[in-house]
Every structure is written in C-alpha cells, then in structure tokens.
Amino acid sequence: MPDSPSEPRAPLDGYDLDGYDLAVIGAGPAGTAGAVAAAGLGLSVALLDAADRPGGQYFRGTASSTPQGGAAFAALRARMATSRVDHLAAHHVWSVTRDGEDAWSVHALTGPDGDGGEPVRVRARAVLLAAGAQERQLPFPGWTLPGVVGAGGAQAMLKSGLVLPGKRVVVAGSGPLLLAVASSLAAAGARVPAVVEASGYLGYARHPRALAVNPHKALEAAYHGGALLRRRVPVRTRSAVTRVHGTDRVEAVTVTRLDRDWRPVPGTGRRIACDALAVGHGLEPRIELATGLGCATRRTPDGTDALVVNGFQETTVPGLWAAGETAGVGGWQLAWSEGELAAVAAAVRLSGRVGPAVSERLRALRRRRDRLRSFADAMAAAHAPGKGWTDWLTDDTDVCRCEEVTAGRVREAVADLGARDARTVKLLTRAGMGWCQGRVCGTAVSCLAAGGTAPGSVPPTPARRPFAVPVPLGALAALDEGEGGESTGVAGLGRCGAAGPGGQGPYVLGEFADRTLDGVGTRGGQGAAATGLRDSRAPYGQSAPEAQRPSSPPPFGIRDASGPGAVGVHEPRDPVVPVQRRGTRGPGTPGGQRPPAPDGREPAQPARPAEPGRSEPSRPGGPEAPAPPVD
C-alpha cells in the first residue's frame, strides 16, 4: 500500500536449503561452468542467480544473432539440466555469512526484482562468488537525460528484449565493449553516427605478447572493427562526449577531442545529432558480497577494484572462491576458465584428495587462465581513465543520479569542508546514499574527492557496500529467528533494524552494516595456513582487507520512510515463479514451504550431506565439464 508506511507488516516467511557442498553466486559463464564442473566431481551444488535463466551478461536472452561461444554455452546449460546442480533462479543474494569452518550461509530474496520478499538461506560448505561486473560510469553534463543509457545496458536490453534506445545512437566511453555494442546496435538496425573512444586502440600494441598468445581475442576486435567499417560507422579515438543536448530527452551530443590525460581540448567540440547515447567506461567487478567478509582487493590496471585470488581462485578468506569478473574483468572465456578452475580446486579441498587426472586438469586450467588474464590486463591498461576527465564536469552536472547531487556540491565538500574521500563526501552531500548505494557514482565521487591531486587516475573507492541488494527489514528480522552460531553480524542487524525509527523504514541500506558486519569479516580471516591447497605463486596483488581498514562511525542505519531517499513500503507479494526447467528452481512457495522439486522429489531435501566418497573428485573417468572453447 503506497501511502501507509507505518502499517504493521506481515512477517516474512522464508525457507532454508541445507546441505550443499558448494553454493555458487551468479550464473554467468563463470558460475555456470563452476557449478557444472563441481557437480561433475560429485559435489552437490546450489547455483543462485538474480535472473530467471543462466547466461549472465554475455549469454543473455534469445537474440537472433547467437553470440560467439553461444553453442558452447548452450551445451553447458544442457549439461547442467541433467546434473546435480540446483539452479535457484530469481534469487537475489544480499549477504554471505561464514558460520564456522566449512560452513557458509548465502542469504537471498526471491522474485524478478528481489521483491518476492521471501528470505532464503542456502547453507553450503564452500562458496564460489561469480557475480560478474557492472558498467563503470563517468558523469558529464546531460548524462541524466532520458535516452542516455549504459553501453552494456543497451546491449543487455537488445539481447534480452530485442529493443533499441533510439534510432540514431552514439556509442561513447572507453573499453573494448564499445565496439561490440556499436556493432550489435548497428546490426539491429540503429544508425550509429559515431563510436567515441576516450583512449585509443594503439595501447594494445604495447602488449604484443598478450595479443600473440590470444589470437582469438585479436580476431574478436578485428571482427567488430570490420563490421563497423562495413557499416561506415566512424570511430573517433581520444575523444569524449562532453555534453548531451535536449530538454526532456537526447537531441544531440557534443564530441570533444581529449589530451593524453583525458582533458577536453578547447575549441574542438563538434555537435552530432542523435536520439540516444550509449555510454560506459569499462566494467567494475561486483565484489561487495566478498569485501563485506573481509576479502582483500587489488587495483586492476584500469583502476577498478577486484578480489585478490590465489592461483586456484580462492580469495583471502579460505573457503570463499571467486571467478570471472569478480576477480578482475577479462571477458567470458576467462570467466569460464576461472569458474571451472575454482570449482575443481574447491572439490579437491572439500574431499581432501587429488588424483592425477584432476592435477592435470588443474594445470591445464591454470595455463589457460594465465594466458587470458595477461590479455585482460593489457586491455585494461589501454583503457585506464585519464585523470583529466573531471574537467568535463560543470558545477551543475549531477554526479549522484539517485540523490541528484551535483559536481558543484561535491567540489564544495572537498574544497570548503575538507572532505578527502568518498565516505566523507557522502556524509556531507548524500552522494552515494541513494537507491544504488553508490554503485553508479562511486568512482566519480572518489575522483572528485581526491581533488585531482592523486597521481593515479582513479583513487581507491573505500566505500563498502555490504548489501548487494536493498533488503526489506522483515527479511533481516526473519533471519534473526533461530539464527544461532556465529552469524551475529546479520542477526544483530535484524534486531537493530526492528528497533529502528518506528520500524517503518522498509529497507536497510549499506551504511548500517559498516558497524555490524565487521565481526563477520574478521572471523572469516583465517590464516592462509588453513589452506589445504598450496599455491606457489603470490596472489595477483595486495591491498589491506576491507575489514581492517579504519571505518568512520556509521551515520544512518535505517532511513525514515518519509524522508528523502526513502522508498515505498515493501509488501510481500506472491512470488513470481519463473519458467521452471529441469534442475531449475524458482522462488519458493509462500508460507514457509520449501519449493517443490520439479521432479517431485522430496522437496525438503534438496541435497543430502555428502556420502563418504561422493565428493571424491579424482575418480578416473569421472565426468568433466566441457572445456571452454578458447584454445
């Protein structure tokens, strides 16, 4: 009911799914390959994804043009349907907690937009985080006008919904994805008057080895480049869209040349008529579920934060593995290899045994992973944002889209009030405090807070976003019941939440958890000696684990529902059950029932505790997941 925020809410019923060996978060190429590989080695696997079908960002939808690798992914999906993977579709994971050694809980909400209101807890002995990435955005005047859309977002909408944001679409920003997006938009019938790339492509040439050992990657770029040439799409490098024109929607953009540091060169602006702009500046790993647990992060060559993983894709928190874009952006083939590698390594860890076949498989996967990773790093370095990009901003440019905080106000907080980091700016201006919790503006706010003084282009974004999705309070409160053990962080949160101002704020957003999840993070940090799998190589990079960084006092726990930024009361609804496929489970039935198994199996027992020997990964001739088609 939209206008009665303080009405008592029906308690939320939820259900537990216990007894899995491995919980995989994200059903993109990384998570799906990992789930199938783990099941092939005898593990019971729960694969949770917010979407209603597997595929992630790349293998999304049913677009008529099958993407490269589409057939291989279809085969993988078919394998999954007959495997022991329980695919939990439309499950939005908002928290992961460590309950003890080899004991994890993954907390999710169901429904197409996490609005089913039904909390689900999946318990597993290990967790593989494969949550992918989101687009990085750098603001510019006019970027909030309707018709300006994320480049990857336009691609996603085209793949899944077969629609375009306009008829004449300028594609701008930076990164290899832009060429792919422009070529799909053009193939779908849009006119693309220009592709505008802030860097250039010559940077790739500085990494001849990475290119040489990844010829398929070079071919991919050539393929998109060729498609654009055929369609006479001009590609302007070292340029950026510095203004969008229009009152209620896009009418034109100004494209300006940039210097080496991405500063606009005065007097070089050219106006291009268009009715939409697809823009993005590379991808950022979605790592908030892991940083909330204290996993260390590393700076990637293009200035994003990715999880530190060892040679077997394990994060710095033992038992929590990461694969795909969460461990650093690198494309679907790399994601696939990493997912499989992580799953095989986790199976070895859980069973305590490794046979010759599995050793050889691990070696081969690591070789492939390392080769692809070298290319990813070369690409990333070529598209790292220059520090002069903030010169695009006028004082009235909105930086935080949710809270409508302008660059002028952020600069004021920095220059006049002494803010030096994104967290302080947030407290002073509300930038990053809205719905998206700073996902969209985080990079921009950090750059502005650093005041252009940072030698690197993008300063670290220390803001923690422990909740991956806004969570109705009822879900937290429900967790509290019967939640024993060590998950005090979240259970405590539920209690605090219920005692919040009037109990009426329907959502708890991230800041609150700064206080409560820290304990979970520290508990998670066991010594590396606990690792059964020894890795001879150093991790890719280091940074202090998030949980060890000093954190400022938590500002606001629960937002008053009538205050700015508050959202409507969250009424539990009948969950929408997505298309059921074999091995795919939608959100559960209401009323605390566990979801019926599609094949009529006893629903309460989705997985049994491991039988002795069942997890033995080194069975000769045991089923193996198909290898990613990258060789």
Binding site: Q134, Q155, M157, S160, G161, V163, R401, G568
Partner: protein, 103 residues
C-alpha cells in the same frame, strides 16, 4: 507509435498489450517492462524527487534503480527486471512513488 524492433525478429503473434499512463503499449513475451516501453519509443517513466526530472532505464541490468516505475499501483519496481504481463498498468512514478506523502 512505430515499434522499434530489431529486424529479423519474427512478428510474434503472442504479443500482448500493457498500458503506460493509460495508453496501450505492445509487449512481446519475455520482454521486461522497460523493453516494452523502449519498443514503444518511451524512454522516461519516472520523475526525480528533487528536480522533478524525467528518467528511465539507464544500466539495463538492475543496478542503478533509475528505471523505477509504478506497476499495477505498486511503486519502485525495477522496470528493467520485471517481466511485462498482459494487462499490466504502468504509470509514471513521481518522486518516491508514494501517493499521499509529501516528499
């Protein structure tokens, strides 16, 4: 209004209607509400709380919350995630979408 649809997509006889601010909008099975609206040339279905500025889908993948719409009377649904169903009534969401409360 002319639909913008990728060529090569067969005409789907199972297309159905939803409504946007009272006028009919065609949707294809499997399309999200945001996709159906884009297909009808609509790119804004929300106004912001502070500036009253129009907004629509931005990230397309459920991350930015710019695409919030009121669907069948319920505010704050992410239109890029929620599938369109026959007869859905989508209305422009103003501010925080809660009628009767000052913002």
């Amino acid at each position: 209004m002319a639909r913008r649809r990728a060529p090569g997509v067969p005409h789907d006889t199972a297309a159905f209607d939803i409504s946007f601010d009272g006028r009919p909008v065609r949707a294809l099975p499997g399309q999200t509400i945001a996709a159906a609206l884009w297909g009808a040339g609509v790119v804004a279905w929300r106004t912001t709380r502070v500036g009253g500025r129009p907004r629509g889908a931005f990230c397309g993948i459920g991350q930015c919350y710019d695409c919030l719409a009121t669907v069948n009377g319920e505010p704050n649904r992410r239109a890029c995630l929620v599938a369109a169903r026959p007869g859905d009534a989508v209305t422009t969401q103003e501010g925080n979408g809660r009628a009767g409360l000052a913002v």
